[in-house]
């Protein structure tokens, strides 16, 4: 058992391509999460440590919508017939986005607003701690209510993928998840660039006072941005609940990944988060796929990622894409 895999990385093109494709798919979902976090950072100037928990909630909402409302009986009074409609998965994803949006907005209004009205002495530290507390609270609340047993939604769409180039296998649920992520990212970018509220958000992120002068209510924009960020996290969770088994602490890893990505891409930069997500996805896949000794390298894999993360923080805290929404 020599280090065959390492060689496969060098001389097996299909294997390498498969790794990269898989990495890009996972990376697209990472990017969706990270864009949510970056929107929050650029408008409110804080990092939400509870980002992963909104991801977790999004997944659970979709799961329960699909499991419990799979057939809705609709009674139409005049005709008197009953129509049965299955809850479509895309509606479930949108609904979990709505739920997480409102949860995020409510939290912003109750706990973060005082930061911006000068009622808190050290706002930066306050934000870290209060979102940290929220993460703790949401995790254990979910545990207490739902319990520790893993759940998973059925594949949204099931189809056989012809093996690309005869060798590479990619599961249908991953393709669906990546497609949803791409659509969500696309709509978010469009929204930020082309609509009035999107522009207002960007204006607030660039200069709060100047934006206020032009008639934008910065407080409302804060609440909206936090809700939007949480919504993106929730939708990322909603698309992944058919790929991974879902438990109450599933968000811990997801938030850790998002932190790494936004630091890599530059805090507050949307293109940075997008490319950061894709890069992290691919690097992780290659790291796992190409290390010579699987038993040791896998145990240290997360540590390598964190070391790089720490180095970027130290030597290039502005990331590689600069700041600006």
């Amino acid at each position: 058992m020599d280090s065959i895999i390492f060689e496969a990385c060098l001389n097996n093109f299909h294997y390498l391509l498969g790794l990269i494709l898989n990495g890009l798919i996972v990376g697209a979902i990472y990017a969706l999460m990270a864009i949510g976090l970056t929107v929050i950072f650029s408008v409110l100037g804080i990092v939400s440590f509870a980002h992963g928990e909104f991801y977790m909630i999004g997944g659970f909402v979709t799961y329960f919508l699909l499991e419990n409302l799979i057939d809705i009986d609709i009674y139409i009074p005049v005709i008197g017939t009953i129509a049965t409609i299955a809850m479509p998965w895309y509606v479930a994803i949108l609904l979990s986005g709505v739920v997480t949006f409102f949860l995020g907005s409510i939290f912003e209004q109750t706990f973060l607003r005082p930061m911006f009205s000068g009622k808190v002495e050290r706002p930066g530290e306050y934000a870290i701690l209060v979102t940290f507390g929220l993460a703790f609270f949401l995790q254990y609340l979910t545990l207490a209510i739902i319990g520790p047993f893993p759940v998973k939604a059925d594949r949204f769409v099931s189809f056989d993928i012809p093996k690309i180039l005869g060798q590479i296998t990619i599961a249908s649920n991953r393709i669906i998840a990546a497609s949803v992520a791409v659509i969500a990212i696309g709509s978010t970018l469009y929204y930020l660039q082309r609509t009035w509220t999107g522009r207002a958000l960007r204006a607030v992120s660039q200069d709060k006072d100047a934006a206020a002068v032009t008639g934008i209510n910065p407080q409302r924009m804060n609440r909206f941005a936090f809700g939007l960020g949480c919504m993106l996290a929730g939708m990322a969770g909603a698309t992944l609940v058919q790929v991974f088994s879902w438990v109450f602490d599933v968000g811990v890893v997801a938030s850790a990944k998002s932190f790494v990505i936004i630091v890599l891409g530059g805090m507050g930069s949307v293109p940075g988060a997008l490319f950061g997500g894709l890069i992290i996805g691919v690097v992780e896949a290659l790291g796992t796929g190409c290390f010579p000794d699987p038993s040791r390298s896998l145990a240290y894999r997360d540590a390598f990622g964190l070391i790089i993360f720490a180095l970027i923080l130290l030597f290039r805290p502005q990331g590689f894409f600069g700041r600006k929404l």
Partner: protein, 336 residues
Amino acid sequence: MIEEKSLKNKLFSLPGLIVAVVLVAAIALPLVISYFNLPPYQIHVFIVGYYFAILASSWALLAGYAGQFSFAHMAFMAIGAYTAGILGQQLGTNVITGIIIGTVMAGFWGFLIGVLCLRLRRTYLALFTIAFSEILRLVLNAERQVTGGPDGMSFNPLVAGTTSNIPPYYIHLALLIGVLIFMYALANSRFGLFWRSIREDEEAAAAMGVHVVRYKVMVFVITAMIAGLAGAVHWHYVSIVTPNDLLIRQMSIVITMAVIGGIESLIAAALGAIVIQYGLEFMRPLGSWRLVVFGLLLMVTLRFFQNGLLYPLLQRLYRRGAEAETVAKRQVASEP
């Protein structure tokens, strides 16, 4: 004449009395417990409470006084504990040597992290220190030959030849009191002033001639050594430490203790730790709901009681003492 009187007033002032009462109570606790045949388990709860009190109050010095919101405090604790443990297990050194070297090692890493973190603030500092403690945890998990990996590492007993809880209780208590006095003295000296000036405005402090680099690194080294010392002593008592003991979840417990006690007061943070440790233990039959309460309490305290829940109480008592003092002073002054 006036000097003497105010001193006397201070000595018998309310806060002084309270400190004395709390101290006497803490010292007498094991006596009371064994006299009334109460369960020694209570002693264990307080031992763990004192351990967390050292961690929470030293974190309060770092975060509340010097404004460095580091999440690496438990990592320093683990460096102290693991160094002491590895020395004891692999080289067979005695407990005291292990604790001393562990403390020094934690201070050394505190120095490194302090130097590396000079430029980082707020979120960046938080993220960097989280990354550092996660890396440490992964390394401790992976290096099984040295650290015992996920099974944990065993320690020689803290006090050889006895299984009684009472000697460790006094060791922890003495450590807590010693550390509190040391930190209190520091915080009320020039150092404390400089740290607070750095916390409020780093540039302004530098402009006023505060050697920002030196004092920032210094506070990291000092608090890291205190955390390492607490870790080295405490895990000798528990007898086994695992990498799970430095999960971010554990760090968040220390932070919550300090926040609920009052992050800008060392004593309040220490009291907060003891109260919460006791509360969590008391609520154990509630299962995971107690952690829900815990998270909610942290958020509510931050939002509505920024000075913590205990600090305002202490302050009120102190003010009452100060009031009496002022009245006395005025009386003295008005005497012909």
